[in-house]
Symmetry: C2
Subunit: 197 residues, 2 copies
């Protein structure tokens, strides 16, 4: 039986992208699906759709911090508020665009974990290099990918495609034409893959 593809549009700036990144592999394995990790740029998605980051509503921002702690315990994964937030994720996301599977997924999970699990400043190239080295990769080679014109272009294309297909926030998961927005839609996505919806 052919494997279904879960397109996982993420930005490492998004804590809910991080949370979902800790769960989606196991979900995919349970449902005989594969994850296609697709970096995009959330700022542009919001700009294009007129959506606003949760922190622009103070009460929502306050709730979000507590909500993240609850999810942290619910999933059993570390979550902390990075000292540098919001940090630029352009380099991290571009590198993600330059990598093929399975490294694309390894990178997506590693940078999200570095930022939201460990609080590291992933806008800094030396932090990204350290993440690459920890993955057993050649650090300078990986950093160079942040300047790769094809990767830059791919990040733009992914962002435009996501918006065109209906995304307005992060993470945006697609199974074919069906969008599942947010870490909290993983149960729906799984039921959908299981043919229950």
């Amino acid at each position: 039986m052919a494997q279904t593809v879960i397109e996982f549009f993420y930005d490492s700036i998004s804590p809910y992208s991080y949370l979902a990144s800790t769960q989606v592999d196991a979900l995919a394995a349970r449902q005989n699906a594969v994850v296609w990790w697709r970096p995009y740029f959330l700022g542009k998605v919001m700009e294009a759709t007129g959506n606003r980051p949760p922190l622009t509503v103070p009460a929502k921002g306050k709730y979000m911090f507590k909500d993240l702690q609850l999810w942290s315990r619910y999933y059993g994964v570390p979550v902390q508020m990075p000292a540098n937030f919001p940090a630029s994720t352009v380099s991290a996301q571009r590198i993600g665009c330059a990598l093929a599977a399975p490294r694309a997924g390894d990178w997506a999970k590693a940078i999200s974990h570095a930022y939201w699990g460990l609080g590291r400043d992933i806008s800094q190239l030396d932090v990204l290099k350290a993440v690459a080295i920890q993955l057993g990769w050649e650090g300078d080679e990986i950093l160079a990918l942040a300047q790769d014109p094809t990767a830059k272009e791919q990040l733009k294309l992914n962002t435009e495609e996501a918006v065109q297909r209906g995304a307005f926030g992060a993470p945006a998961l697609f199974v074919g034409d069906t969008l599942f927005w947010g870490n909290d839609r993983l149960p729906l996505l799984e039921a959908f893959l299981a043919g229950k919806l």
Copy 2:
């Protein structure tokens, strides 16, 4: 062992309040908790917090309609887009404020179902009367509650209290000081009640 209270702030204008209203009783029963149904007025909550309805972001609105269909199948409950949306829910919410348990909960579920399950226009008094009669109640007596000054005041008080305690959307469920925002947080709420978080 004492029962924990789940405070369920809802507005029948909110489809996610409706969805949660179809699940929260069973959840409470599983966790030896009771639901305290608390009508509030979402428009004022949004105004007070600077939050905006999802439909003000077109892509979010488009997603929401599909999302509601998925939840409908996930829960096995009917959902449809009411022809009159947004309808005024002031009378419906005021009546909810005037009723004591267990009728407060019966009413909350019945008006939410009438609006989101059946698409009826709950801004109309004859529709509210029909809902009351279907619950086996005296229709005109129930309608009169919409003019009850204490109920009017209670709706304002509930709204102000919810905002003060951190609510910015609907439904807003509280277990003590801990806010769970949205139908999609019911799994977290249940884990919290089960002592797992």
